[in-house]
Symmetry: C2
């Protein structure tokens, strides 16, 4: 029988060297590309053959097609001129840690299926508790522990399932969610978050079978942070109607504007009411590696779970979302299913963590490697310097906005995110954003605050330096001026 | 302000070269390692410092610790002597495609956030419809389409949410799941799968808020395949009790024994009853790249969704689970949430796919690259040759089992999986497995069939050749002989 043409280790050396070189060159060149892809829908597919090849092709053909087909179809998240959404910054050590994960090809669903995959993850997440100033209860040496998820969406869904089971004493897992109190014996469960919270909360509530109408989008104050009096009133009203409040999701750094919900008051309320408090610091959480930003998580000692994404701002390429719980037993109880074919002696000894019970899927990559590589390459000092550079650049940009007659800040600057707008109104701001993005010189996105269209500039790129932000600001002023003149001429 | 010590492109070239060399050497050496890690709980952590470094460390220190700390703590999934669970095989082109994904660092949640990430994925999944002989309705040019998920667990959960919403006309997303018919207006939803189906079905049903008691584990026939008469009876009983059957999950190649549920009859029943049919071919699905194995998916034209994992048997490293739907509108309707900050012109044009609406999380890696690299490196012919080699080795092994007095097959050989046992009973089989695994010479796992402990040998490693399987068989016979003699002596 024919052997398939496997890539030999020596071929892997040669092809690997060529690809490392291509990626290094990409790092050198990425600044020159239009940040937002200028591809038309279907233009990438139009260049691909309609059927897969019958015979294998040389690696050189792949390298060619990366240049000719893939690169023109990319939006360059690693460009120093990328200011859209939140960053998803990468770094050399992270890319190499991820390469090692792919190269070892282990699958860490159980401790036994690669002990190092589990133990390094537990260990690095314990390190991060200290590095980030998180409550000691989140450590694996206490009753808690950390785990890497693919995204904050998954972290939040995981927290929601644990909260749901705690609130229902396991009844939802067993019997399904309920729509009480109208006529049924079992009460409905309710969930609370700010109206500025991330869409993943609503998506999670729907996936978990709790129903969108049982999610309360709590009113916010003038800084777009959750109002605790409104939260308290919503909880009281639901209890009066016979519902059981299951979870509050507070946000440290909303996607819209970087607003920070008041954790101390929310936490005290959740403790009093016996409600699971999950804290979503997907982007801003990286900042607490600097002591001067620790106030962001004041009150976190009341939280039952916490998530932040090193794949956003901590130089670790997607996907890497860290998630901690204060009581790992509640999490495992909610998510564990143990079929015969996964039974093994290490699991039965009770001495190990099986991370399959800490997440939605069963299988898992060795993602701790890239985080370990990043922390060791940069050291805590290097990571702090990175955050401080980004914050300083955002502060500089915000100062320009404030000093300019035609522009205004639309929210307090928060963890590298500047929300601003041109005073001429939504139409000009939208035109401004589109023209800037079409220019390829930079990429930023928008939100709506106080019913007005607002531009968001999130500084977090690994390669973003003062000169880039200065050029971005100059381009924004110049483009806005041109648009205003056109409007005047029209 | 201090700049963090970012890795320059030139440092990346040097460190990258060293790591490529290390991985190539791992490929050459992996056969020599004990397959199942012999680490004790805590032994990896004991070698790691209790706090993260304050200053950055040289890359050479990381390379040293890979050898000294990580490798001894691995279970070697890429060893040619790995026969446990199902394989999670990798290959050079796959590792390099994944490296490119990390190196480009794009995030494909929306078409606009990297058009090539979306379009290559759609395109390669259309290729696979033809390569694997799947129904044309699954193509994006029809009403369907494919997407890459992290795991079959997530594919199944995604299917379940879509099925749940179709069965409830969107009511669960809006109002939450219901526990009817006892007293409530809204009926409960029920789900059906074989009692031999994967544990991820139960986990998904619980996550989705439907309740474990609403999952019917349908009885199986003597080949461990779902009995259609039992399925039909369960559906009828639930309807009579006022429930609404929402989904049937059929398995092509169960994890326990490789059993194949009868899709033609199940599909016809689901059509008649208007029930969403999801087909889980996580492992065996790779086989249908060979025309002689297409009978595995006879009847798939009745399915609403289908999943198989290239990260199991198709030479693509974890994570890469392909998932198709026949009606993408039903999927998107069930999972779409569109906040202001994700609005963009491409989405509003309706001309593009935004894959965030096809999955549980929001963010996503450029995973299509590794699958594209694998298909192009091997060509369809190479992929077929790989599957045929594995199947031939499993058949050879099964023939040895059948020819040996002391051993017996415990199920029909299926897609590279051999279930067998020693005739001396459970105690000897368990001792045999443990001694083999402790020897480091090979790694296999077990299941229970017909209330007996059964050993599973899954052939799928990229580097597994005839000589490895021959040595595995010789070792099994020899170890069983030694155990029998010990027992006799005792």
């Amino acid at each position: 029988m024919d052997e398939p043409r496997h890539m030999t280790p020596d071929e892997f050396r040669r092809c690997g060297a060529a690809l490392i070189e291509r990626i290094a060159r990409y790092m050198e060149e990425v600044e020159q590309y239009p940040v937002l892809s200028q591809a038309e829908p279907g233009s990438v597919r139009a260049r691909l053959p309609s059927a897969a090849p019958e015979q294998g092709e040389p690696f050189a053909d792949l390298l060619r097609d990366i240049d000719e087909i893939i690169l023109p179809g990319l939006t360059h998240w690693q460009s120093p001129n990328f200011y859209a959404y939140f960053p998803a910054n990468a770094s050399g050590p992270s890319i190499l840690g991820d390469l090692l994960s792919s190269g070892l090809g282990v699958q860490g669903m159980l401790w036994a299926t690669s002990p190092a995959c589990t133990e390094l993850e537990t260990h690095v997440l314990d390190w991060l508790v200290d590095l980030l100033g998180l409550p000691q209860e989140f450590k694996s040496s206490a009753a808690g522990g950390g785990v890497i998820q693919d995204s904050a969406s998954s972290s939040t869904l995981t927290a929601l399932i644990a909260a749901r089971e705690r609130a229902s004493a396991g009844a939802v897992n067993e019997h399904g969610a309920a729509r009480g109190p109208d006529g049924a014996k079992e009460p409905r469960l309710t969930v609370y978050t700010s109206r500025h919270a991330h869409s993943s909360i609503e998506k999670g509530v729907k996936i978990a079978g709790l129903g969108r109408e049982n999610l309360r989008l709590v009113e916010a104050d003038e800084c777009h942070a959750m109002r605790v009096d409104a939260l308290e009133a919503a909880i009281a009203a639901d209890r009066a109607a016979g519902a059981v409040p299951a979870m509050v999701c507070a946000t440290v750094g909303t996607t819209s504007s970087g607003a920070v919900d008041p954790l101390p008051a929310i936490g005290a309320l959740c403790r009093r009411e016996g409600i699971w408090l999950h804290v979503d610091a997907a982007h801003a959480g990286s900042a607490t590696i600097c002591p001067e930003h620790r106030e962001l998580i004041d009150g976190l000692e009341h939280a039952d779970s916490y998530t932040f994404n090193p794949h956003k701002w901590l130089l670790t390429n997607f996907d890497c979302s860290c998630f901690w719980v204060a009581d790992r037993a509640a999490l495992i109880e909610a998510l564990s299913v143990l079929p015969e074919y996964l039974r093994n002696r290490a699991t039965e000894s009770g001495a190990v963590i099986d991370y399959r019970d800490w997440q939605i899927p069963l299988g898992r990559r060795f993602r701790a490697l890239k985080l370990w590589f990043v922390i060791r390459h940069y050291g805590a000092e290097g990571l702090r310097a990175h955050v401080r550079n980004c914050v300083a650049l955002a502060d500089w940009f915000a100062a320009q906005v404030e000093a300019h007659d035609a522009f205004a800040l639309a929210a307090p600057v928060s963890a590298g995110l500047v929300c601003f707008r041109h005073r001429a109104g939504d139409a000009l701001n939208e035109a401004l954003m589109n023209r800037l993005n079409e220019s390829g010189a930079l990429y930023l996105t928008h939100t709506r605050l106080d019913d007005r269209l607002v531009l968001r500039l999130a500084v977090g790129g690994t390669a973003t330096r003062r000169a880039h932000v200065e050029r971005a600001w100059a381009r924004i002023v110049e483009t806005a001026g041109a648009l205003s003149a056109e409007e005047f001429a029209a």
